[in-house]
Amino acid sequence: MKFEAVVGLEIHVQLRTVTKMFCSDSAEFGAEPNTHVCPVCLGLPGALPVVNARAVELGVRAALGLNCTVHLSSRFARKNYFYPDLPKGYQITQFDRPLATGGWLDLEEPEGEVRRVRIRRIHLEEDAGKSLHDRLPGRTAIDLNRAGVPLIEIVTEPDLRSPAAARAWLTQLKQLLEYLEVSDCDMEKGSLRVDANVSVRPAGSAALGTKTEVKNMNSFSSVEKALEFEVARQVALLERGEAVVHQTMLWDAARGEARPMRSKEESHDYRYFADPDLPELVLERAMVERIRGSLPELPAARARRFREQYRLPAYDAGVLTATRELADYYEAVAARAGDPKAASNWVMTEVLGWLNQQQCALADLRVTPARLAELIRMVADGVVSTTAGRRVFARMAETGRSAAEIVEAEGLAQVSDTALLEEWADAAIAAHPAEAERYRAGEDRLLGFFMGEVMKRSRGKADPRRASQILRERLRTPERPGR
């Protein structure tokens, strides 16, 4: 029997605020332990929470970006459980009345198919502190800097059908949240964390199988691996005629396996109730509409526009809209260079190639869009060859100087001087008599070889159109006296 996976995701996203969810302590990552603490986030007797307006705004932004209905009235609730890094003995979250419900984010699959993944709910909550088990011998060390950092939890419907799709969708979600500037989405810092619900069922069946929850996945690739492991485990159980047990599985990346978590039955009785320290969270419709109006063009829409407005292939549009910064960069180049496809080629090959090779961020690139556009125009105008242009780009990125300055200083301007071009052409032919003979015998494609030789001799400066004209002329006759 063939089985299909049914996957739903729960994603915790730290919001990009200066201070914590319910107090003015710094929400910054990476400080000395227990230095960003105050009466509120230490859970001291008598301390009370006050809601961070920016966190609410970011939550609304994320909800609108994910096509959710934002509720003008929602409620904070207490989730009661004991854990040493949970200072109050409860987490302030939202339960029966979340900030937003009923959204979606489409997954564009490789074959061009679109799968709609529905968002069940998005709610605001506070993060817990950190328990470190390897810091002190025999003891657990508690750092409360993270306690109270604002989060949203995004819960999807079980709409994903494979581990790979889950990973691809998460990548798109991350891209969207980055576009929205809601979070820095850095999984290594824990600012984006993913849990999954997984079940399997016979392909084509509409019923849902018994699900398990998979936790402790530290990267999108480990999400995919853990889900593959868990799906395979469940399929194997069913094929043996055994049942899947509803339980929580912890992914152990080191061993590449997910193991069931031991748990106490009572630990699931969270005794939620409305937090009496916080009245209802009420949003004004105007505020929500203002946020809606301030949303940037989102990745899918932008890629669509790139295809239409700049006549780019779908692949280019996808690559160029991967991040908001890159898309902004591309558009700035395209506007000045006058040739959107050329701009796309330059950004995709030279800019991304350079960033990849240097392992640096776009923000650190010393070639501004205006300067890249200048270079593209110089190539289009025949001032420098494409080949030389690539070298000019590298020098621009290294030095921060303009294309014109580099071309001038390094003598890289394209050579269209017939005499010089003839000299390089003759030298190339003379050095390769056998190839010249074969060309004359009809092997036309060897013209490219000779072009390469001319370019080599000209150090890339030869005007390719003129050079190929001259080569063709010179190769037509077997020998020429003189010169």
């Binding site: 227990n34 040493p84 950190k130 290594e188 480990s222």
Partner: protein
């Protein structure tokens, strides 16, 4: 309403209270009596119950400012403090978060933690 010893033990475990056998007996009896009195709430007709009133919404504060300063640092409050941390006895895998973190720490060392490749890179 009768409250059994098992009920009492279950609630005590949820509330992280360790009760003596005498306390278990006493609480079972007392909670039963109190719940009997509270049972009168059941007389109130559901239809008559109004929604809870909202007098004012949660005030929102600007994302900034300063927290109320601590007159004593956390280390002077803590029953056990080591190397800048609150210290508790090492957790035997008690529940989710413990195992999660234990694994996370191990994983941090052992798993290659390369960043995700961005959605698009230069064509190979």
């Amino acid at each position: 309403m009768a409250v059994s010893r098992e009920d009492v033990l279950k609630i005590a475990a949820l509330a992280r209270l360790r009760l003596t056998p005498e306390e278990v007996e006493r609480f079972a009896a007392q909670l039963g009596t109190i719940l009997d009195h509270i049972g009168v709430l059941g007389e109130v007709e559901e239809a008559a119950l109004p929604a809870e009133p909202v007098e004012w919404p949660a005030p929102l504060r600007e994302d900034g400012g300063h927290p109320d300063p601590l007159a004593l640092p956390p280390r002077e409050l803590a029953p056990a403090w080591e190397e800048g941390f609150f210290a508790v006895p090492r957790l035997p895998a008690l529940d989710t978060a413990a195992l999660e973190d234990a694994f996370e720490d191990k994983a941090r060392v052992e798993e290659e933690r390369r960043p995700e490749p961005p959605a698009g890179r230069a064509r190979p």
